[in-house]
């Protein structure tokens, strides 16, 4: 990947090197950058040069879109992403914006409704001519807007961990694809707990099914066994029959990808049925700090979650991020994996625009590979040629207070592989 680094160096050539380093250092450099004369960059980079495709860019501003559900069933999940994206944009503006231009946000509500997402995406691209869109959460909403972004050549920064099997010039996936989230976690639980048998349970849609398909292949390749695989409709709240099956098959590990409100019922009923998660190993790829609010820490304490980010991560970037997030959105707010991935979007876009010295979508898409963000709360991340991120996998253990203790993290960044050979 040394060539990526060289690219990054070369493309940042237009900006004086001390400034560049400060940009890369992120918020740490905030006060120093504030001293630079306003608009100095804008004069150096006339709008005609950085915007050749009639995007909404002026000498002083650049418009971007935020497209999430603020109403409907998904609002509870997507609010964190909106907050993180707004925080990142506010911080970038405080630093002087992108290529000397302040970011202006146009927020649209996808209303948990996939055609509305498509309609709003079209509006943002066709009417507002935004330079980038940060948004979408569910796979269904992403699938609905993807043809729109490809048709009108827009740029989408998509924050959620997802099933993979997709790659687009017009999307940067800031969450993990399935193999990044699953494989290292399974290896860890095998090594740590000596697990031999797994029970897979998930909500019935593409992400849990694909994730479990990958998990099953990995488990069986290692000579371990899957003793059960069950799916439930979204919003399902009766898990007693599957809990009985779990009790009968006595798996070493329950591997859960139940999403949304179903989680609350699932963990409460497990507890009521006498399954103690301190004794029965459960690994989930769908519970973050956000879901813990609804489930209640006491119902899920002891379970392991496999993510790339936890709010309790100990590093200077994250401490600053958590403090800034709570200052902006209230001390009670919690930050889950997707929220952090949402925060990466605006920063990656800013760094890419500065590398490309342009807002043009084609140039942003071309310049994205190799972009590094050292200020990420999860630690250093880098964009792969396939537009996914190199990220670490981490395992956290749920505590009663709704936070996780990080018990494991991979030594290296894991390569994103949205089309994993041998797992399809």
């Amino acid at each position: 990947m040394s060539s990526d680094k060289m690219d990054a160096d070369k493309l940042n050539g237009g900006i004086p090197s001390p400034l560049r380093r400060k940009l890369l250092l992120g918020m740490a450099a905030l006060p120093a950058v504030g001293l630079l004369p306003r608009g100095a960059l804008a004069q150096a980079l006339p709008t005609s040069a950085v915007n050749t495709t009639k995007l909404a860019v002026t000498d002083g501003t650049v418009k971007v879109g935020i497209l999430h559900s603020t109403t409907g069933t998904m609002a509870i999940s997507e609010t964190g992403s909106v907050q993180a994206e707004k925080l990142a944009i506010a911080q970038i503006n405080e630093m002087g914006g992108v290529l000397g231009r302040k970011i202006e946000v146009i927020q649209e509500d996808g209303a948990s409704d996939w055609p509305t997402f498509a309609e709003k995406a079209r509006k943002l691209l066709v009417e507002d001519k935004v330079a980038a869109v940060f948004g979408c959460w569910t796979s269904a909403s992403r699938k609905a807007v993807l043809p729109v972004f490809e048709q009108y050549n827009g740029m989408l920064y998509y924050p959620t961990f997802y099933e993979g099997l997709e790659q687009s010039k017009n999307v940067i996936y800031t969450g993990q694809e399935a193999t990044q989230q699953i494989l290292a976690g399974l290896d860890w639980v095998t090594k740590e707990k000596g697990a031999k048998s797994f029970f897979l349970i998930g909500s019935d849609y593409i992400w849990p099914r694909t994730s479990n398909k990958i998990a099953r292949k990995h488990i069986e390749m290692k000579g371990q066994k899957v003793v059960g695989e069950e799916y439930f409709p979204l919003g399902h709240t009766q898990f007693n029959s599957v809990i009985n099956k779990i009790k009968l098959t006595k798996p070493d590990v329950i591997y859960a990808s139940v999403v949304g409100g179903s989680n609350v019922a699932f963990y409460k009923q497990m507890k009521a049925a006498g399954i103690d998660l301190n004794k029965q190993t459960l690994m989930t790829i769908s519970v973050t700090e956000d879901e813990m609010l609804g489930i209640g820490g006491e119902n899920i304490a002891g379970a392991y979650a496999c993510m790339k980010y936890f709010q309790s991560l100990k590093n200077p970037n994250n401490e600053k991020f958590v403090a800034a997030f709570k200052k902006m959105w209230g001390g009670e707010s919690v930050i889950g994996d997707v929220t952090q991935a949402g925060y990466l979007g605006p920063w990656l876009w800013k760094l890419t625009a500065e590398k490309a010295q342009s807002f043009d979508i084609d140039k942003i898409a071309a310049a994205s590979a190799g972009i590094e963000f050292t200020g990420a709360p999860e630690g250093y991340v880098r964009v792969h040629e396939n537009h996914h991120l190199w990220s670490k996998t981490r395992v956290g253990r749920a505590r009663t207070d709704g936070q996780f203790d990080v018990v494991y993290e991979t030594a290296d960044l894991i390569e994103p592989n949205p089309f994993p050979k041998g797992y399809q």
Partner: protein, 384 residues
């Protein structure tokens, strides 16, 4: 409706045709001139719901059969079209990245190795077009036969249609290898090689949609004015009396239910063509009830009212959600409460109560204008 035709020279027959001409002018001339292609495409999308609202005017307004499951037929119509378009978009060349090229992408993700048998006929556009109308009509026929022959009606029928909507959603979501699951059938590209995603195609589809809608309004008008239409009103108001007069009530009900289903399905197919995908979120209970609301806002007794109601509610939804992304649902809620509390006969009711008498006075220049223009409220409305 029951208004006597001789109240004025802007009487019922001229009035209906004049109203349709006005709507046609609005849809085919004024809106395309006044809106850019993006907004026009949105109007086109709203108009596809107007097909459902038309069906509801006949089924609910005329015949008194409240169906809370019109999304089923809208969805099936849309899915039939989407299946054809998806197969065309899944040529072996376009899908060579998959482990089984030549089948739709979501089947490949679900480890299907070959096209399921019921997908095969959808290679043919003729078959798909026929299926758009025939499959929902057949389903409505079966449901109608089972319900109306047993004299299930009123609120029980409404609840059962809701159950069917829920069943179909669960079926589609659960069988994602065959249906695309919750994501639906996405990324539709061409119709017989004609790219439906371009602005020109959207313009053409808009006009096709508008013309179809006008055609369907005329068809509905024809049904309502026929003897059949009067029997429908009669069985809404006094079902037993119709039965004792020797009519087979169930057959009439089954017919109007199938007719409404077919109309909804046409809307669904046009929706798929214009929006470029279909998903179970248009099949379930919530969209089905929303469609009833469109009809209620416009006025369930008026064909044109239902079209305007659909346009207005969707337009308000879009505008409010663009301007107040965090508050718009409250505004919509207020609008719906307003409709139910203040003007139960919808926009058409308001028009007939306040505007039509004035118009009539203007046109007839009579000082003793009759009050016959006031809306005739069917007997059971009072209890709603």
């Amino acid at each position: 409706m029951t208004r006597t035709p001789q109240t004025s020279f802007l009487g019922r027959i001229d009035g209906d045709i004049a109203g349709i001409l006005l709507l046609a002018a609005l849809l085919i001339v004024i809106l395309p001139l006044g809106l850019d292609i993006f907004r026009l495409n949105m109007v086109g999308k709203y108009l596809t719901y107007a097909f459902v609202a038309l069906g509801l005017v006949l089924c609910w307004g005329s015949a008194g059969i409240l169906s809370l499951g019109q999304g089923i037929f809208f969805g099936i119509g849309g899915y039939c079209m989407a299946m054809f378009l998806k197969l065309e978009a899944s040529s072996p060349e376009a899908t060579k990245i998959q482990s089984t090229p030549g089948i739709p992408d979501f089947m490949d993700w679900n480890q299907l190795k070959e096209l399921p048998w019921f997908w095969e006929p959808f290679h043919s556009l003729t078959f798909a077009t026929v299926a758009v109308v025939a499959v929902p009509a057949l389903l409505a026929f079966i449901v109608g036969l089972a319900m109306f022959k047993r004299r299930v009606g009123g609120v029980y029928f409404a609840i059962i249609t809701q159950a069917f909507a829920a069943i179909l959603t669960i079926l589609i979501v659960g069988q994602q290898g065959y249906t695309g699951g919750i994501n639906g059938i996405t990324d539709l590209r061409t119709l017989k090689g004609w790219d439906i995603r371009t602005d020109e195609a959207k313009l053409v589809l808009y006009f096709v949609n508008a013309a179809l809608l006008i055609g369907c309004i005329l068809l509905c008008l024809y049904v309502r004015r026929s003897k059949l239409g009067r029997i429908l009103v009669a069985l809404r108001d006094k079902e037993d009396r119709v039965r004792f007069s020797g009519y087979d009530v169930a057959s009439f009900k089954i017919f109007v239910f199938c007719f409404a289903a077919a109309l909804s399905a046409v809307g669904g197919a046009m929706f798929t063509l214009q929006v470029g995908f279909m998903s179970p979120s248009f099949v379930g209970i919530v969209p089905s009830i929303e469609m009833v609301i469109y009809c209620a806002v416009g006025g369930r007794l008026s064909l044109l009212g239902a079209v305007y109601g659909t346009l207005l509610v969707n337009w308000a939804k879009t505008m409010l959600s663009e301007s107040f992304p965090e508050l718009w649902l409250f505004a919509m809620g207020a609008l719906f409460i307003g409709v139910v509390m203040v003007f139960p006969n919808g926009l058409a009711g308001l028009y007939q109560q306040f505007i039509a008498p004035k118009l009539r006075r203007l046109t007839t220049r009579r000082t003793d204008a009759p009050v016959a223009g006031a809306p005739i409220i069917p007997p059971h409305t009072a209890a709603d």
